[in-house]
Amino acid sequence: MTHKKDVVLSPGGNPLRRRTLASLVGLALGGGLTSWGPASRGATRPLVRMGFTPAFVHDQHALLADWRAYMERRLGFALEFKQRDSYRETMDLLRLRQIDFAWVCDYPYLHLRDLVRLLAVPLYKGRPYYRSFVIVAAGNKAVTGLKDLKNSVFAYADPLSNTGYLSPRYALRRMGEDPQHFFRKTFFTWSHKKVVEAVAWGMAQGGAVDSYIWETLDRIDPALTRRTRIVERSPEYGFPPFVAHRDVAPALFEQMQNFMLTMHQDPEGAAILGRLYLDGFTRGEPGMYDGVAEMMRAFGEL
């Protein structure tokens, strides 16, 4: 779980992606089914469900399965992990009360802040912050910043991603450009990793990507990130948080929050965090996301 994407309940229907679908099936067939299957059928207490957005670095299913098994052991109840292809789908699951907890992006969190409350914020490099990168192909020496990408083809991650959509558009706006017409063409890849791929393979001249994901990819697939070059770094934003639906019982919320905040103290939990390239969790506070809120206001979304 190196990589968390802007994990968000994502509003906004996204087409199913093959890989994501496959990962979903893999998850269900892997550890998932065996442990929560019996619980869902016979347990007296309702199954606890946690949603994940699809913006995962690939091959994370084993990690998710290990994490879920670890949580079940620590928490003493069965869990169901639900993975969806886009932020909007995860957001819909929250709205429909299909899940109790979710790892979402900061941008969807603000969209849903009346419906959810902060559970825990991951600590990346010791701090609960990350950035947006604008990347270009490594060989493209002509581009020194976002401004040089005018009239190019640009790849966004997801319309409900902060770092992969909102942040670069806000930067353009600050430059006095109209994000609607600055690029000659834009498209969504529905995944941060695929933004990196689109830029690396030349489908787009530029792309906006989550710094946490790019740096994670840089460790697990350096051949891919080496084909790209970072030309723009955004200010820091609050890290994509874990949220709880406001209907979640206080006891469960408490138990879950305590578990998250102490996970790094347990060797097994620390190992899982290590695989996610995270250091632990902090309680966090809504004020961390004021920067995102300001951008949203700039676009008239708040």
Partner: protein, 484 residues
Amino acid sequence: MKLFHLSLRYKLPLWGSLLIVVSVAAVSMALMLKAYEDLRQDVRTSASGLAHLLNRTLFPALLHDDVWRAFEQINAVYAGQGAGNPIRPEAIFVVDGAGQIVVSSHPERLPVLARLDSLGRDHAALAAALKDLSGTALTDLDFPGAAHRFFALPVHEESARVGMLVLAYSKDVFQPRFRGLALYGILVGGLVLAVLLPLNWYWGQRMARPLVDLARRMGRAVHGGPREEPPRDVYPFRDELGQLFEAYDAMLEEMRQKALLERELLQSERLSAIGRLAAGIAHEVNNPLGGMLLALDTLKARGGLPPQADKTLSMLERGLKQIQETVAALLVQSRESGRTLGNEDLEDVRTLIQPQVLKKSQRLDWRVELPPHTGLPAAACRQILINLLLNAVQATAEGGHVGLSVVPAAGSLRFLVVNDAGATPPGPLEHLFEPFVSGREGGHGLGLWVTYQIVQQLEGSLTAECRDGQVRFEVWLPLQAEET
């Protein structure tokens, strides 16, 4: 052309080889062309299947302008396949109505939004061709000289079109494979040639050898060289060539007969010419000789000559008589006497020859069966027999064997005189019957010549041969009706 004058020994195998080479080349070419067409068809079939498959997934993606999804779909084609597979397109891309690339499998070479006609000659030709495409069918676009072969299929559902899907196949990949195929064809063709050409050469040589042999023999026969019997094993078969050899045999035999005949005729002509000449000279000599002898007789009869003269006259008379004898021998007169041959004549001959036989201690076989009436002149026959027997006795060594057989046979009377050939066989048979040719010292060589002349006059035949160590003289005289 010099080529056409070549020996069949080379011409037959050469023509055969030419035919084989042409046949193998033609078959190889046909197979290679077929393989080439198959390969092209394979590419077309593969392209059609792929294009229609992509069409179904690309249509919704392009309809929603989901470029990334379209990219992932066309890129899936390249997952895990070998790069050298000519059935795999080198590039897949979609072009919009304005001739711009919407999505491509290789965006670095074929960037999104690039104008197709700015991407090199092949793509410019493609762009021009795409403008004229209508309908929803797959189009095979193979421009001459282009490095790519394109297949274009409108991305469509029912009649709605959202772009033009293009599959580009590199001929650079396609052609090495064909070259490999061609190389294989040439290799197999070469192997076939390596087997067939030596076989053909052997067969051609085998066919030509008897013909060449025959031609050589014929040439020699016609130009008077030594005539060769064709060995029976040169060509033992009964086809046309075999018949040719038979005809050659027959021709050779006829030529031999003709030559023999000519030689006999020549011999006979020569002998009779000599005979006439000798008879003429003898006649001219005989007349004055008779006068001289008469004069000598008259002189002696008158007597009274001195003894010295008498002695000289006797010497002259003896000399003249010797000349007369010789001349008389040349003057063959077969029909001098009217008496016909009888047993007493043969007894006389035996009596006459006996002393010679005894003198040389020879054995004489004597077998005589005379018909009652021979009609043959006795004197002539006696001379023939005496001449031949004396000749035989003289030719035979002491203690040898001489034989005579006289028997009637088929309207003729046959005299056969046989003697041992002895150490020295008779001289050349063709000159045996010429005058003054003698096989031994002391003979004047007229005996056999005279015999020959007499036989000729009696219209008979005389042959001599040397066989099994024996010399055989054979005379055939036609029996004549009793003269009245």
